[in-house]
């Protein structure tokens, strides 16, 4: 199952590593990654595409806990398939 997560996070040096580490450790595969620093460069918009057999809430709930993550929005799986 494919999922797309739209994430707003603090623009800290390790923020992408943190997202990827949690994604890998919790058992999801990365299928796409896009990041754009916001104008003020204090935060960054990240689009994380993942696939995995486990329910996606097991990943989103762990990503939410990352201190750098400010907002996390799960785009529905169907949309993810359409946009793929």
């Amino acid at each position: 199952m494919n999922h797309v997560l739209n994430i707003t996070a603090s623009n800290t040096p390790a923020v992408v590593e943190r997202l990827l580490q949690v994604t890998r450790y919790r058992g999801y595969q990365l299928t796409g990654l896009q990041m754009t620093p916001r104008a003020d460069s204090r935060s960054v918009a990240i689009k994380l595409s993942v696939s995995g057999d486990k329910p996606i809430h097991l990943l989103t709930s762990q990503l939410h806990k990352l201190y750098d993550v400010q907002q996390l929005e799960l785009v529905s799986a169907e949309l993810a398939v359409l946009s793929a």
């Binding site: 040096p13 390790a14 943190r18 450790y25 097991l58 709930s61 762990q62 939410h64 806990k65």
Partner: protein
Amino acid sequence: MKGAELVLKVLQQHGVDTIFGYPGGAIMPIYDALYQSSVKHYLCRHEQGGAFSAIGYARASGKVGVCMATSGPGATNLITSLADAMLDSVPVVAITGQVSQAVMGSDAFQEIDVLGLSLAVTKHSFMVRSVEELAATLNEAFAIAQSGRPGPVLVDIPKDVQLADIDYQPEASTSVKPAPVATSLANAAKARALIAAAKKPIAYIGGGVHMAGAMGQLQQFLAANPMPSVTTLKAMGSVAKDNAHYLGMLGMHGTQAANLAVQQCDLLICLGARFDDRVTGNLQKFAPLAKVIHVDIDPAEINKVRFADAALLGDMQQILPAISAGTDCADWLSHCAQLKQQYGWRYDHPGERIYAPLMLKQLSERMPDNSIVCCDVGQHQMWVAQHMRFSHPRNHLSSGGLGTMGFGLPAAIGAKLARPQDTVIAVSGDGSFMMNVQELATIKRFRLPVKIVIVDNQRLGMVKQWQQLFFNERYSETNLSDNPDFVALAAAFAIPGHCITRKDEVESALEAMFTWPGPYLLHVCIDDKDNVWPLVPPGAANEEMITETKA
């Protein structure tokens, strides 16, 4: 002032008067500032030991534990202990020195990517880039370590930041308070309905209850809603000693009454616990008839491994009174009381050799009120959990989630410094003791009156037990019969000790240990054949416990 001095100022603002650490090149400016600081530094003899002492300090006191190490090998030596704090949700702030930013990224001497290493073993971590952000970063570290579900936070400080000058004016209340806990009682009515309707409810209590400061609310809840209760390893001591319906620890080495009752219950009220695999055994077969109420502070634990019919997130102190509904389950209570009676521990062990469960029961009965027991990992750890009683979880420090050998002795050092008025006992195994044995030097230096009990079976007993049961008695690398002379070893650190081998020596040996005013090592030799029972074999449901007679 220099960044290094600022570090100590901020620690003091957070009420830190005790830190554990070990110096080295990249953290020398902070050690230089320590030289004239009123913050008391305890020199460990291995950074892993220092960080375990910080954990012991934090767990015994409820405060944040602080440890320090230099860059490179100093920082890597912290990793195991940070992982331990992570899995047991212990608030720790670790400060590491880093090479100067001018050489960072050049494989400089003792440079290692500590921020990268920290990702999997900390709740959060920082690399400080300028002295201007140093105070704010440290304040954030303390807030994160204590907020929500606590955990370890690492702050990596390059040497040039430590040496940089700053005009620091501490604000009146710099100490960032941990973020208040958002509590949702939306499902309280649902939980109350489940409790009121349950015929066989049971409370499954984890470390989250005492960490939320909800020990009082828990006793009130259990009094207003009489039901059997079980605890995890981390929650031992949560249920008041006079609660007749308490059944002990559940899980792999839990009591038969606890495991059978949980398997039979129709409502499992999980309070600050996380359905760890050492608790559930075969997850699909765990409490198969039960609806679940799950109360926790960490949203990620809800529905992680077991579906919750009603979940409540937030502050345990508020939630417990809100879900009180009154129970009516006299038959169930008497059934569980009968299980407890039927499967009570037996201490009538034949022969004159020392039987560790009985020895630990004697220790438990003899130790002063409010003593703190710090355990290592293995069979002796399970015997402590089974046969000793505690009046508070902060009196039983055991490495639960990570199961880290070498935890006990340094944790005892931290516990003793946190609560100098209370007796501290490290119960270790002959294998585990050797993993941080160098901390005897810390005990010697600071004359810490820690009591050390080594349960010596001349084996890596827990592994040996599994080899015996599940690997055709092929005892690969678990024989320690060439152990050092532990009493002589202690003597080398000016710690007196005594070795016992017979049951009839136990009482007087314990007496001598407690009467001696300083540190003391009691070497207790037991039979290498003794095993921990009951045991839920891997893959089995919790009612399929093996007992000594069946094995």
